[in-house]
Subunit: 219 residues, 2 copies
DNA sequence: ATAAAATTTTAGACTAATCTAAATATTAAA
DNA sequence: TTTAATATTTAGATTAGTCTAAAATTTTAT
């Protein structure tokens, strides 16, 4: 009934809705790599299917939002499987999970979740919604809002872009590490960290804004 | 480049080619649950893509055959995963594997195969081709060609039909069992077995033709 | 060997998803 | 507040995959 194409639109609208106050046709077009004309046309169909509330204010209905969360749930569970079970690296899994997220079988999703022992986050540290669409509360903040002298755990990244993840790998940064903030530069927002009590790492504000942390020591 | 639809046609032609001497438009239509008109049209496209040799004699090219074996390989590896790792029953996995078989990533397939420890057969006992498309040699025969008094191992089923598998479950028949042929009835081809030295089971010729065995004791 | 039956192909139409180009509407600036 | 720039929608086409109905071909049987 609902095509892979529609699922991808719903996912894009959900993600855009998380950050932007109002989602626009051109933002969806940009994200989907489609023309605005195609998006405009598709929004009509999404509206007819009861997946968005309104044509002018692009907001998901409860049904649309639930669907989005199911797709995100599947994506993040498959990413976890690929990294934990099949030994993929965290920057290799995105495009495979984009395919696996469309496989339809709620039993499969539940069995996979059980096999992975009900993970709260995926390999990027992003929270995995449960089967009712509820996200676990991780209370994370961007590194750019950290306080000097305090200790944090590196929890997630705000973007999946391959070269960004690669940059982190090169700096030796990995999820779950303990980071102590050595200093923050006021005028350019750059941050200096002590990673796992060993290495000092210097990060620009641009990078710091895309790294999410939560306060506290390691588990 | 090659759609899921085309992959399904290629798979259907491969399977039909295994049993029938010449594959017909109507046989493909029957198997795909499409009209003969659609099939005829599609065959033109398959020919243009170099996947079948000829329009009149429906035979896969080397490229088409390799593609078919890759899809079958993925299908059978995923079925094995679903049963062995996620505890599905062997009659529940077919429709999920039909989706998973279209996921494109040779690295994924190889990692999955490694995780499953290079299985030779899927949960139905069907051989899994390696990454070059070579099937392992299992030297199996249909039960209908067995000899009275001899001992065999139940290796595979010739069809995935849900009600057929269910019928087998009801009779207590499972892959890997040791079957001793008690007697074969000449006039109707029916067979009486001793299963695992415990139960006597009576099977019609229709069923016996769809059960594959290989000679020998259990491993 | 010809008629009847079955099979296959062609013709024309439909849907989903896309495009470009043009028209329309909205937002921002002078 | 009227113009200019930007954003969105509509119109008309295209492609892949499907359909039904009709035409053409091939096979089978008398």
């Amino acid at each position: 009934m609902i095509s892979t194409t529609i699922e991808n639109y719903i996912k894009a609208i959900f993600y855009l809705g998380e950050t932007a106050t109002n989602v626009t046709v051109s933002a969806v077009a940009e994200r989907m790599q489609n023309s605005p004309a195609s998006v405009s046309d598709m929004l009509r169909r999404l509206y007819e299917k009861g997946l968005i509330k309104d044509k002018n204010n692009i907001t998901l209905t409860d049904q649309g939002s639930f669907l989005a969360k199911q797709i995100i749930r599947k994506h993040r569970l498959w990413e976890t499987f690929l990294v934990k079970t099949l030994d993929f690296k965290w920057d290799e899994v995105h495009s495979i999970a984009e395919q696996l997220e469309h496989v339809q079988s709620s039993l499969l999703t539940e069995r996979l979740e059980r096999f992975l022992e009900y993970p709260e986050t995926d390999p990027h540290g992003d929270p995995i919604p449960d089967k009712d669409g509820n996200f676990p509360d991780l209370s994370i903040i961007p590194l750019s809002e950290s306080e000097p002298g305090k200790s944090y755990i590196f929890r997630s990244v705000a973007t999946d872009a391959k070269d960004f993840l690669n940059h982190l790998d090169n700096k030796g940064l990995q999820l779950g590490q303990r980071w102590v903030i050595i200093e923050k530069e006021e005028f350019d927002g750059s941050v200096k960290l002590l990673v796992d009590d060993k290495n000092e790492v210097y990060l620009s504000e641009k990078v710091a804004k895309n790294l999410n942390i939560c306060s506290g020591e390691l588990d």
